[in-house]
C-alpha cells in the first residue's frame, strides 16, 4: 500500500511531536488487541496449531511432527530438527504478483527459521532413539491478512502452535536374533537391560499411545518470542499499522527467549534472569548507529519479556479451561 507524501509526513511529525501521537491514539509501546486461539478447532489434524489476529493481521500456524524416514540426515542426530515454512496467501496481498509473493514468503521464512532452530533445538525431549532417530518438527504458517506488524503476529502464532504441540510418547525397541528358547522378535529395552546386563541400543521405536495424547514441550514458558521495534530517530515504536510501516520503514527485529519462572526464581542476585537473544535483524533502507543498538536491544528485551509473560498466562488460562471441560465431559 502506497500512501501520499503528506500522509507520511503527517505520521512522522506526529510521532516526533512532544507527546507522540499515533493515528489511533495509542502510546508508542502499546500493541493493538491480540486475539489468540491455540489448539482446538484451528487445525485438528496437526500436532499443534494456533491462530492469531492483531488488529487485522491474521496468521494461522500449525506444527506437524515427522518421524525420521531413513535418509542420512536424520541418522545420528540427537535433539530433533525444526523446519519452518511461511506462506503468504494471495488474499493477504491482492496487489502483489506471484513472484513478489514468493519473495515475501521466502524472506519471512529465512528470518524466522533461523531464530526458531537456534532456540528450540537441540532438545532432549525430541530425541526418540538416542543417536539414531529424532523428531522433525514441520512448522507451517499462513498469512491470511496483513494490517502491519506481520512478523510479530507470525511469531506469536508459531509460539502458540508450539505451546499446543503434543509429542507422542515412544518406546524404544530392539530386535534380537532368534536364540533357542528365547523370546522372539521385539523385547522391551528395560527388560533387555535387566536381563542381559549389557549396553543394548534401541534401533527403532513404537508409539505408546494414541496420536491425540502426548506430552507438551517441557519449558513451554521459555519458548522464543519476536519483537519488532520500528525506528524513527530518535524514538522507536511497537506494532506499526500499514501506514506507519510505510512512513518509518526502518525496523529492528529481535528474537528472545526467557527462562521459565521456576528457573529464574533460583537466580541468586534477586534480579530478573536475563533473556537469551537468538537473532537480530535490521530491516529497511536506513542505517543504525552502533551506539543506538545496545539501548534498543535492552528496551526490546523489556517489551519481549512483558509480551512473554502476558502470552504465557493467557495460554495457561486457556489450557485450564480446556482441562476443566474435558473433566466435565468425562
Amino acid at each position: 500500500m502506497v500512501i501520499s507524501k503528506s500522509e507520511q509526513s503527517y505520521i512522522r511529525s506526529s510521532l516526533l511531536a512532544g507527546d507522540s501521537h499515533r493515528a489511533d491514539g495509542r502510546g508508542l509501546d502499546r500493541f493493538r488487541t491480540i486475539s489468540l486461539q491455540a489448539g482446538g478447532d484451528v487445525a485438528p489434524l496437526a500436532n499443534g496449531s494456533a491462530r492469531v489476529n492483531i488488529g487485522g493481521s491474521e496468521v494461522i500456524a500449525a506444527v506437524k511432527l515427522e518421524g525420521p524416514s531413513g535418509d542420512d540426515e536424520a541418522l545420528g542426530r540427537n535433539g530433533g530438527r525444526i523446519s519452518c515454512t511461511i506462506t503468504c496467501s494471495q488474499s493477504a496481498y491482492p496487489y502483489k504478483t506471484n513472484s513478489q509473493l514468493d519473495e515475501t514468503s521466502s524472506d519471512l521464512t529465512s528470518i524466522i527459521s533461523s531464530a526458531l532452530s537456534s532456540s528450540i533445538t537441540p532438545s532432549p525431549q525430541l530425541t526418540i532413539v538416542p543417536n539414531k532417530k529424532s523428531w522433525l518438527l514441520n512448522v507451517d504458517a499462513l498469512v491470511l491478512s496483513d494490517a502491519g506488524n506481520i512478523l510479530d503476529a507470525l511469531f506469536i502464532s508459531i509460539r502458540g502452535a508450539l505451546w499446543d504441540l503434543k509429542i507422542p510418547r515412544t518406546r524404544g525397541i530392539q530386535f534380537t536374533s532368534r536364540e533357542p528358547g528365547d523370546l522372539e522378535g521385539e523385547a522391551d529395552i528395560m527388560k533387555g537391560v535387566l536381563r542381559e546386563r549389557k549396553q543394548i541400543d534401541a534401533v527403532d521405536f513404537e508409539l505408546e499411545d494414541f496420536w491425540e495424547d502426548g506430552d507438551p514441550l517441557v519449558n513451554r514458558d521459555s519458548l522464543p518470542i519476536a519483537i519488532s521495534l520500528n525506528i524513527l530517530h530518535p524514538i522507536y515504536f511497537l506494532d506499526a499499522c500499514l501506514a506507519e510501516e510505510e512512513s518509518a520503514p526502518d525496523r529492528l527485529v529481535l528474537f528472545f527467549s526467557f527462562p521459565s519462572p521456576a528457573k529464574s526464581a533460583r537466580y541468586s542476585s534477586g534480579g530478573v534472569a536475563p533473556g537469551t537473544l537468538h537473532g537480530i535483524h535490521l530491516m529497511g533502507p536506513g542505517e543504525l548507529p552502533y551506539t543506538r543498538l545496545m539501548p534498543l536491544i535492552a528496551q526490546g528485551e523489556k517489551h519481549a519479556r512483558e509480551l512473554c509473560v502476558a502470552l504465557n498466562s493467557m495460554l495457561r488460562g486457556e489450557d485450564a479451561k480446556i482441562n476443566a471441560q474435558t473433566t466435565i465431559r468425562r
Partner: protein, 314 residues
C-alpha cells in the same frame, strides 16, 4: 502494554433451516405477499420470495423462479412503479454522477490518472479535468503531459466529483477550489453504504477538525482551514494547491484528529450511518466521559458510546 484476548472460533453461525422445494411452497403459502406494498423498506435475504411475477419488472438483485420474484442478495427491497430491485447491504461503491469521492492515485498514464475509489474499477481523472497552475483558464500544453507527476503522484489522496459514470467506469474532475490534493490529516475507511448523501459532504467540527465524507467510504479527517484563509480565484498557484508539505499542526489538533478518526471507525464497526450530527454527538460524549483516544477503538468504551448515540436517533 499488551492485551491478549481469546479469539472466537469461526463458522459458528448457521442460517435458518432450508426446506425441500416441495415443502417450501407450503411454507410460503402462509406469507401474505401483498401487505408489504405499504412498507417503505423491507430487508430481505437470498432465497426469499418478494412478490409474484405478474405485472412486476425485476431489477438488480433478483431473479425469477417459477411464478415468483426471488431476492438473490441481502438488502433492502426498493419498488419504483413496477420495478422491484434489491439494493445490497454489503456491496462495493458504485459511482454516480455528482457524487463527491475521496480517491487515491494508483497509476499515472498518458494524460490521465487512474484513481482508486473503493469501487469495482478504478476511476479516471483526465488531465483536462484538473485545475492547472497559472489560472483557471490556462490552456493545456504538451509539457504538462510530461510533468503530470508534478501535479498528482502515485499514492496521493484527492477529493473530486464524479463527472460521468456509466457501467462502473467513472470519470472525475477537480475543477473547483474546494477539490484537489489532500493534506494535513489522515484517512479513515468505512463501508460505502454507511455514508449518507447530505447537502454538503464537507463538515467542520467544533473541535478544530474538518471532515470530508466521501461517498465511497473514504473519509478525510484534517486540520480546520478557516474560510478566510482559502485561496481566491486570482491567487491560484501550483505551490499551494499541489504541494505535499503539511502546515504546522499543534498537538491538540492532532489529538482531536485521532479521536475523531477512532469515533468514525467505531461507529462504522457497529454499522451506524454517518452524518455530522451523529459524529458531533459521539465526539461530545467521548469528551464528557473522559475516555482516552486509544480506548475508544481498542477498549469496550466504544460499545457504550454507540448505544448512547443511537439512543438519540429517531
Amino acid at each position: 502494554m499488551f492485551s491478549i484476548v481469546p479469539l472466537a472460533p469461526r463458522g459458528r453461525e448457521y442460517g435458518p433451516t432450508r426446506h425441500h422445494p416441495s415443502v417450501q411452497k407450503d411454507v410460503d403459502m402462509g406469507l401474505d405477499l401483498d401487505d408489504d406494498l405499504d412498507h417503505s423498506s423491507r430487508i430481505t435475504s437470498p432465497g426469499e420470495m418478494i412478490s409474484s411475477s405478474s405485472a412486476v419488472l425485476r431489477g438488480h438483485g433478483t431473479y425469477v423462479e417459477g411464478e415468483g420474484v426471488i431476492a438473490s442478495v441481502t438488502g433492502v427491497i426498493t419498488r419504483v412503479n413496477k420495478l422491484v430491485t434489491v439494493r445490497a447491504v454489503k456491496s462495493r461503491y458504485s459511482p454516480e454522477v455528482g457524487d463527491l469521492v475521496v480517491g487515491r492515485i494508483v497509476e499515472v498514464a498518458q494524460s490521465r490518472w487512474k484513481v482508486d475509489v473503493n469501487g469495482r474499477q478504478d476511476a479516471v481523472l483526465h488531465l483536462a479535468s484538473v485545475n492547472l497552475p497559472g489560472g483557471i483558464q490556462r490552456r493545456k500544453l504538451e509539457t504538462d503531459e510530461l510533468q503530470m507527476r508534478n501535479f498528482f503522484e502515485e499514492g496521493d489522496l484527492l477529493v473530486a466529483e464524479v463527472q460521468a459514470a456509466g457501467g462502473g467506469n467513472a470519470s472525475l474532475h477537480t475543477r473547483s477550489l474546494k477539490f484537489g490534493k489532500l493534506r494535513n490529516g489522515q484517512l479513515a475507511t468505512v463501508p460505502p453504504a454507511l455514508v449518507r448523501r447530505l447537502k454538503s459532504q464537507f463538515h467542520s467540527l467544533p473541535c478544530g477538525v474538518d471532515l470530508i465524507l466521501g461517498m465511497n467510504g473514504y473519509i478525510w479527517v484534517s486540520k480546520h482551514v478557516k474560510e478566510s484563509e482559502q485561496l481566491g480565484e486570482e491567487g491560484f498557484d501550483a505551490e499551494g494547491v499541489y504541494s505535499n508539505v503539511n502546515d504546522d499542526i499543534d498537538n491538540a489538533t492532532r489529538a482531536a484528529i485521532s479521536r475523531v478518526s477512532n469515533v468514525i471507525l467505531v461507529l462504522a464497526r457497529h454499522h451506524v450511518p454517518l452524518t455530522d450530527m451523529i459524529l458531533n454527538d459521539a465526539y461530545d460524549w467521548v469528551i464528557e466521559q473522559g475516555i482516552s483516544t486509544a480506548d475508544i477503538l481498542l477498549g469496550e468504551a466504544g460499545e457504550s458510546m454507540v448505544l448512547s448515540v443511537t439512543a438519540q436517533l429517531p
